[in-house]
Symmetry: C2
Subunit: 190 residues, 2 copies
């Protein structure tokens, strides 16, 4: 079940570097694409950085709305993640084409992708120079959600939930799943 996550913990959805789905909404339509180049940028208020290439429909919708979401998809969605990262929404409705379902977000118009395990609702911070030069978008996270069945003691735990593991794109449809949980002994825990 999707449950709210305190904003100060929002960075934990991206700290391990998973590939994300970026959703956007403007001009009466929505889109979804994959982005491996996304990371946290600050703890509180939480910020993120994500690369959204020029000429994509997502870029156009984000430029128009100043909003997007970053969703953390799963191994069960591997085919869809790769597909929405390879095809443009200009020619196809990727939601329908790949069977992805949108759910309403709480603070932004861009929708949440159902079946993911984490969701960040984001508002773009105006940094036109880096947007133009590097396709880099900096945004504040204004709401966060997590799938509670894989969230234990304040972080993801995919043990026994193999199909819910987040994924990490390498190139050309090759991914790593998020692997084993290991803890440095220096922490004195576990």
């Amino acid at each position: 079940m999707r449950v709210p996550l305190e904003l100060r913990r929002a960075y934990k959805l991206l700290n391990h570097g998973p590939t994300t789905l970026v959703t956007s909404a403007a001009h009466g339509r929505t889109n979804v694409m994959a982005a491996a180049w996304a990371m946290p940028l600050d703890f509180e208020p939480p910020k993120v950085a994500v690369v959204i290439a020029e000429s994509t429909l997502t870029r156009e919708l984000v430029d128009a709305s100043g909003e997007f979401t970053l969703c953390v998809p799963t191994r069960a969605q591997l085919e869809q993640v790769y597909a929405v990262g390879s095809v443009t929404g200009r020619e196809e409705d990727k939601w329908a084409l790949y069977g992805l379902k949108a759910a309403p977000a709480s603070r932004v118009k861009a929708p949440l992708v159902e079946g993911c395990v984490g969701w960040l609702e984001c508002r773009v911070l105006p940094e036109p120079d880096v947007q133009r030069k590097y396709d880099l978008f900096i945004a504040e996270v204004v709401a966060a959600w997590v799938e509670d069945s894989v969230w234990k003691n304040g972080s993801f735990d995919f043990e026994g939930a193999e199909e819910h593991r987040s994924v990490h794109h390498v190139a050309g449809g090759l991914f790593f799943t998020t692997g084993e949980r290991v803890r440095a002994r220096g922490t004195g825990k576990e």
Copy 2:
């Protein structure tokens, strides 16, 4: 063995979102710290983005030299990764304290950390506004190296090399290892 990697493939060292070690050199000394907030920013010429907090020794050395390296550490180095991310180099020589060995880089003065599986030599691109506002450094990759024993057909393959798996920090010393290699069927490969 550490072997050169073509620059156009350099993004593949970070595309899966591993936690990195950042090395730096200036004023006759070097330092090493951990950074989970690092990602590729472009393919060719390759660029990266990394967050280097204000007030750290690494920030001071990177500001002075305009250079750093991003190294991809392994599960075998988990304790060291966590330690160099928790302690400041201002008070301790972290190399000696944690038994990390430095090797010379080829194009920058910042050293490479031995025992890692990937290395990027980076030159800072001057973006003072985002450096100041977000602690965000954008850099061009000027040389790249990979550990050839875990590099197969143009990407990491950690099968049978468990201790060489890259790692992904979550928070407070909790990490995920890089998991299983999986390929989207849409690619028509494997």
